[in-house]
């Protein structure tokens, strides 16, 4: 397994253990992780505190507001908010785990990167460790609903 996706999955598992929807993300630059986060919507009471948003903000605080030489690994297809943030941050490559037909914004719904109004489209690789990423979510919701 990609070591970076393994770390994103570890963030997702930690989020689930905190009672958050288990999604995790890491930002990678020059072969090393410079920022990592799990979902903290419940803890922060902030509907925008998705793993990707927190990881991107943490990475931009370290240096440039543009992450042109950075890649993002996230365990779930980003929603439109996170997809647009990835574009605004000029992330180079996006690797995501499970597809999200219900709320995704990359391959589904508003398909944020697929419009002329999207001024930067990362390279996109979906379905990486798809089964494990999806299983985390399935178990989480099965235990709660």
């Amino acid at each position: 397994m990609s070591a970076f996706m393994a770390q994103a999955l570890a963030e997702a598992e930690a989020a689930g253990a905190r009672g958050e929807v288990p999604v995790g993300a890491v930002v990678v630059q020059d072969g090393r992780i410079i920022a990592r986060a799990g979902n903290r919507v419940e803890e922060l009471g902030d509907p925008t505190a998705h793993a990707e948003m927190l990881a991107i903000r943490a990475a931009t605080v370290l240096g440039d507001k543009r992450l042109e030489d950075c890649d993002l690994y996230v365990t779930l297809e980003p929603c439109p908010m996170c997809a647009a943030a990835i574009s605004l941050a000029r992330i180079r490559r996006l690797y995501f785990g499970a597809y999200d037909p219900k709320s995704g914004g990359v391959e589904h719904g508003s398909k944020v990167f697929d419009h002329a109004t999207c001024h930067h489209r990362p390279e996109v690789y979906g379905g990486l460790e798809e089964r494990r990423s999806a299983e985390l979510l399935r178990v989480f919701f099965a235990e709660r609903r």
Copy 2:
């Protein structure tokens, strides 16, 4: 002029005076402003620090993570990131100033609210104080480019 849009315009003007793209937003609950923000992308070095994101985060910190009885006034058509955040926060009504054919995500491009994957669509009122909102942006960019 709507007193709330006047306050969003004041936030936009203050952002412009700080060297930021002049966009401002306020969140209104029960007839009073509970959060207000201007764009701080440059100051924070954070590409996600749009006025709407900052105002929504400030409002959710005050109470519930869902702003179901709140309205957002913003001087520019939200981008897809901010439109999706407005939906996630369950904002009741969105009032925006200038339309943004280049980067907007409500009436243009990915039209975030217009998909089945968007689970909450606010009432949307565009073009409020459109001329003044657009003029602020026009002057800002004319002075810099």
